[in-house]
Amino acid sequence: MAEKNPSFVLEKAGSVYYEDRPVPELKSPYDVLINVKFTGICGSDVHYWVDGAIGSFVVKQPMVLGHESSGIVHSVGSSVTSLKPGDRVAMEPGVPCRRCVRCKEGKYNLCAHMAFAATPPYDGTLAKYYSLPEDFCYKLPEHLSLEEGALVEPLSVGVHIVKQAAVRPGDSVIVFGAGPVGLLCCAVAKAFGASKIVTVDINEERMAFAQKYAATHAFRSQRESAADSGARLIRDCDLGLGADVIIDASGAEICIQTAIHALRVGGTYVQGGMGKNEITFPIMAMCTKELNVKGSFRYSSGDYQLAVDLLASGRISVKELITGKVSFKEAEKAFTDVKAGKGIKMLIEGVED
């Protein structure tokens, strides 16, 4: 195939360029080649663009960006049975090793050999073509658009967080942060039957949107101690003895501290947001209130399919989160806009045919 594979590449912090790269070869008979159609941008993409690194993941050589994608199957390996060329799919961008203990116990998101798109050294999906194993592609039903397909990735993050939180019907849930992940956590909590969903953010616009979207209550932060804020949250939102579940999708220290004080005894806290590496944490409150405190990282078995199903059944809608679309040639503009905090979700169109 003489056809090339135009790609959007991060050379190093602050420097991006377009490059024609070879079309990926199918490495296994279970792989498929996808013509990428839409890619959303996440805070982590922006972080690599600005800093060239996240923690110990350092961009040492040019790397294609992007990981929140949908596309159309172009060709399939000889052992592929569930997909054919022309199928529209949501793309799960992290392929684990399938052989280690974490993989075999069902927690493949924790695989030490995970090959994740746009996490160094693996190339991302902002190219014309991308290859994935069959079981990491999820067919989109007719009535879901490819744009919505690109939102399946952040929705899956939300699904995984809410599953970690073990939200049960009737639970009261607080979500700190009304960015895309926070919004989607509210939506998934609602789909899981939460009776009360409180959104918390410092941005009025985002909170107003969250209330229209999936939250039942909004809480405005003030300058006060975390303990006072937690107590006020419980009072203002009629949370009785405290919330059953709190999810942090902000990474902000004050939110994390407030959350511990706003939970009821025996409640569950899940850290989804990423901020400072180390913070001051109310560990005595966590101990004496016997809280379940968990982390949440990416997504694992069943999350992507559940995300597609929640969208397909109409129980969650993501159309209203898409606030901008740019062509592949304008990809850098999208990064600039996201960095400036514009809109909710920006999509980059795939390479034109």
């Binding site: 279970y30 399938r98 052989r99 280690c100 203990v101 993989c103 075999k104 116990e105 069902g106 927690k107 493949y108 194993p133 069959e134 079981d135 694992s300 078995s301 069943g302």
Partner: protein, 368 residues
């Protein structure tokens, strides 16, 4: 029936050609299929009821013998060849072999339940060849090094220990719980030993054969029980309820044991097991007998029992089993009552089939 070994390396194999028709065949030395495979020179193989069942009946459930298969699946051996991507074992290493490799792609595999994978390649389950050959090919992550002080017979017994580990995992056994195990065959006594090793306060073994109870007493069980036979004309359900009451009384089990492991598949034991489990307790079906039985379902409902099935093993079972044997917590050597050379494999199977009381675990040596 006795094959000659060539000067050139060959792969003598013990093959089930059709129901009740076994033979030795010289097959080709198998090749590695990909960079993750290893080739094992099989050292010892234990025989299981399922092997005998395929030989005599040609099927278990939907698995039907349609073409010849090599028998055997409980094996140990030495690694003789490794693929280029293999990191966990080296040539010369002695290993226990986990005989069922799943597809790794399906929902079951990806969610940590690879024992339920529909496309598992399981040794000696039709249509897949088993381990009673000189050599066996398997993915390297399904081989587990055994320490120097464990011999190859113990290595072969890791498989049934892993089955027992899975059964206790499914039972969610916690420290200080009381456990009743129906059946004192190899799986039953291994469940008793694993339960003890995992902190059960009291383990009671039940069997209809006194000699098996005697062995169980000396192995892992704290107490053993020989259920009385039903009087003629007594309703089997009433009898099962009576036996359950007797069990609870005799061993001061109060409202009943926390956990019941059913390792016989026999209908009266299943019924007694349900009646004896305490309210809110856990009953695990591990034994295989009649496909359909009369089950005390209302008792299960009213007493809010957790009733689960257990099949084969999942992640972590094999390493746990190796550790239980290597640490001396379970002395599997004591289960072996008969040993055969590879050329005597058919006699070994006949012995297991005869079902004599003094025959417990039979092992077959590999091709030298």
């Amino acid at each position: 029936m006795i094959m000659k070994t060539d000067e050139q390396d060959s792969n003598p194999s013990f093959v089930l050609r059709a129901i009740k028709d076994v033979a030795f065949e010289d097959r080709a030395v198998p090749k590695l299929r990909d960079e993750h495979d290893v080739r094992i020179h099989i050292a010892q193989t234990g025989i299981c009821g399922s092997d005998v069942h395929y030989w005599q009946r040609g099927r278990i459930g939907d698995f039907i013998l349609n073409s010849p298969i090599v028998l055997g699946h409980e094996s140990s051996g030495t690694v003789v060849e490794v693929g280029s991507a293999v990191k966990n074992v080296k040539v010369g290493q002695r290993v226990a072999v986990e005989p069922g490799v799943p597809c790794r792609f399906c929902g079951y595999c990806r969610s940590g339940q690879y024992n339920l994978c529909n496309d598992t390649i399981f040794a000696a389950t039709p249509p897949w060849d088993g381990t009673l050959s000189k050599y066996y090919i398997v993915a390297s992550d399904y081989t587990y090094p055994i320490p120097d002080h464990m011999n190859m017979e113990e290595g072969a017994l890791v498989e049934p220990v892993a089955v027992a580990v899975q059964i206790t995992k499914v039972a969610d056994l916690r420290a200080n719980q009381t456990v009743v195990v129906f059946g004192c065959g190899p799986i039953g006594v291994l469940c008793q030993a694993v339960a003890k090793a995992y902190g059960a306060s009291r383990v009671i073994g039940v069997d209809a054969v006194q000699s098996r109870l005697d062995f169980a007493s000396s192995f892992g069980a704290d107490d053993v029980f020989l259920p009385p036979k039903p009087e003629s004309g007594v309703d089997p359900i009433e009898h099962a309820e009576r036996v359950a009451a007797l069990l609870k009384e005799k061993f001061n089990l109060g409202e009943g044991p926390d956990v019941v492991l059913e390792c016989t598949g026999a209908e009266p034991c299943i019924q007694t097991g349900v009646f004896v489990t305490k309210k809110g307790g856990t009953y695990v079906q591990a034994g295989m007998g009649k496909e359909v039985v009369a089950f005390p379902i209302t008792t299960a409902c009213i007493r809010a029992l957790n009733i689960k099935g257990s099949i084969r093993y999942t992640t972590g079972c094999y390493p746990a089993a190796v550790d239980l044997v290597a640490s001396g917590k379970i002395d599997v050597k004591r289960l072996i009552t008969n040993r055969f050379k590879f050329e005597e494999a058919e006699q070994a199977f006949e012995l297991v089939k005869a079902g004599k009381q003094d025959v417990f675990k039979v092992v077959i040596e590999g091709v030298q």
